[in-house]
Symmetry: C2
């Protein structure tokens, strides 16, 4: 099969995929390969001594939540003694924003690609600011995490079962007509999700807990993000492992390195140091406080959302910095490095052209253009949380390394 | 005061206005000047023998709903005998889409401009297709009308009271960042309204009636439209009656004539025959089935929404026909005939420029450009309902007549 044919096949598998938010379950019950002390994290594999501050902060919070430790020093001891089994979420069909920490007792959203029988997992979105994924772990964060895990999650699970699942691909498609790019702007999609869910919440829940759940999902603003991330991964995984395909199936960052995976190159990661983010800071913070790029949320761009669809979400430029013209130029530039256009995700301002889909490592190296990522900025110190949002470019070194590996592979 | 100063004052009063959806009450209890047999209609005043088919159909339905008659012949008798007191809704601080019929027992949304102490009224939005405002009045329509009036309205009233009112201007502002133009596209605003309302519905209602109400508001799609129309009228009325102002404060159509009102020309209507609509038809219908332009919904364009904000709502062009480029051109053209830009309603695709606000009759006559209206198309035969949607231009004759009146007035 030629490379172009392989890429076509890869994109077909991605395009025909679905994403149904079908369940919420404890990670240990559904995520494959979770041992008693597994700690999954965002991005390519990374060792404790390489991990950035906010990722360590998240791990501290997760270990306290699990009851494995009661303070940061004990967690550091566990990590240094090799008592925590760190691994990339991507090796377990899972995914998470920012540090992306998942431990066995955490409830995870289950999203099903019904066409390809792929299940993917992501924790519940916790809100903006001082939250676990940004490395915050004080008592307030812990209390919120427990409420979400032991009260909110069971209610949502019952509502989801009552609904028979919720079609995320349909919501994403609609929200692209409503100014969302589904990475940093989820205003419409979150409202559509709440609208789809609310009748089922009322049907299964007690009045007071339903009111609290609705208030939380509404105010969290991006609650849908983690489910869409899991859904996007489930679609892209359908296009993985296609021999001779040069399409990128994952872009992920752990705050230390950025890594990509390529369909025709199996599960191998091609990494480079994680870049800084050019962005807009919340009051009181600046570039000196910023952590390098972190999180699995670049799965958005990998499926054609985020910066790739930014022309459809001009309002996001106020959040990450930029102009409407810049949003247009960014989307147009991404067509230069992609192999296709999304058949379902359409962009109204450019006459409903399909979102740029399927980054081709050949085109990236040829044009010198790497995927732009819309993303949040974490504070480099643990315990603080998000301090801004902006744009960054995936390092070229990931793509040149992948293309070299691809060339060697071809010569065999 | 110079004309420009008068127009500035007019726009200031409009800009500082608010729109709070504060209550739902029977028309007879709140709408000023409702006698026992008052029948309010959209557009400038029109006599029974001039009324188009769908407006007559709506009146038949309304009279049956009120118990004044039991069939179309009896209603025609009442009308011909002068037993129905027809009047333009605008003469009673009220407004309605399409035929816009309001009779005393109908529950109406109450919207308050808290800055200027103005209350405005509009019936509850009934859904798409075969509905009263399009002239349908069969048993199904009547049953729905009764359910809305006697079950839905009291529940919504209680929820609104529990909420302490809902800020429509805030929702409109947000929805303009989410692809709505608030005339034919209300997808985002309707979801935001539901999100704002749902916790209060749950707090005051029985589970089964709450579920039914949520389902109705969600599926109706444009439920918010009538409340935004009332709110827009309340804002524009704040700018009415400014001596020497050439700003248009109402554009309204009754299916027979289109009329405008101008701030410096009091309550006088300047009318011309209602034009046809250039649009996209639902399957099975064509231009030969179409009624001329009808309804008060052009209040949207008068406040800077609808076609005036179409650049922010490219998805609407699929509904009314056109392209994203056409949406941009339409909005840009409207700046040529407006005196200002909205300080709160911002359009992301043109770098958050304020929506074109305040049609100046001088500019219309000077440029030869009249306000474009995004609108639904009613079937000319009563009882059918909406058959499409499209665009029409307000007749130039309205503006030349108004400008002549303005000139004569100045010479006094």
């Amino acid at each position: 099969m030629s490379i172009n044919e392989a890429n076509k096949k890869c994109l077909e598998k991605i395009q025909e995929s679905t994403a149904i938010w079908s369940d919420i379950r404890p990670a240990k019950d559904v995520v494959p390969g979770m041992s008693e002390r597994t700690v999954l994290h965002a991005g390519p594999p990374v060792a404790w001594n390489q991990m950035c501050g906010p990722m360590r902060g998240s791990i501290i919070g997760a270990c306290i939540f699990e009851g494995w430790a009661s303070n940061p020093e004990e967690v550091a001891q566990l990590a240094e003694n090799g008592e925590l089994e760190f691994d990339s979420s991507h090796h377990h069909h899972a995914i998470g924003p920012m540090s992306g920490i998942i431990t066995p007792s955490m409830e995870v959203n289950v999203v099903t690609n019904t066409v390809h029988g792929i299940e993917t997992y992501a924790t519940l979105y916790m809100g903006i600011g001082k939250v676990l994924r940004h490395g915050a772990f004080d008592d307030e964060v812990m209390a919120k995490l427990r409420w979400m895990n032991y009260e909110l999650a069971p209610l949502l699970r019952n509502a989801l079962h009552h609904a028979g699942g919720i079609d995320l691909k349909n919501i994403v498609t609609q929200a692209l007509q409503m100014g969302d790019e589904l990475h940093n702007r989820n205003k419409a999609s979150n409202a559509l999700l709440l609208t789809a869910l609310v009748q089922h919440l009322i049907s299964v829940g007690e009045q007071s807990e339903v009111l609290k759940a609705i208030d939380f999902i509404d105010k969290a603003g991006h609650f849908i993000l983690n489910t869409v991330m899991a859904g996007s991964k489930g679609m892209l995984d359908a296009g993985a492992h296609i021999k001779d395909s040069t399409i990128v199936t994952a872009i992920a960052r752990n705050g230390y390195e950025t890594g990509i995976r390529v369909s025709g190159l199996g599960d191998k990661w091609f990494t480079a140091p994680a870049p800084m983010i050019d962005g807009v800071y919340f009051p009181g913070f600046g570039p000196e406080d910023a952590n390098p790029d972190m999180g699995d949320s670049a799965i958005a761009e990998t499926i054609g959302l985020g910066s790739f669809s930014m022309v459809g979400a001009p309002a996001v430029v106020e959040y990450i910095g930029g102009t409407a013209q810049f949003a247009l130029e960014t989307t147009l530039k991404m067509y230069e490095i992609t192999a296709g256009e999304h058949e379902t995700y359409k962009l109204p301002p450019i006459n409903f052209r399909g979102a740029p889909l399927g980054v081709d490592i050949r085109k990236v190296v040829e044009t010198g253009i790497t995927p732009i990522i819309n993303t949040g900025i974490a504070c480099r110190r643990p315990g603080i949380g998000q301090i801004g949002a902006g744009l960054t470019a995936t390092p070229m070194a990931c793509f040149t390394a992948a293309l070299e590996a691809f060339a060697c592979r071809k010569e065999k």
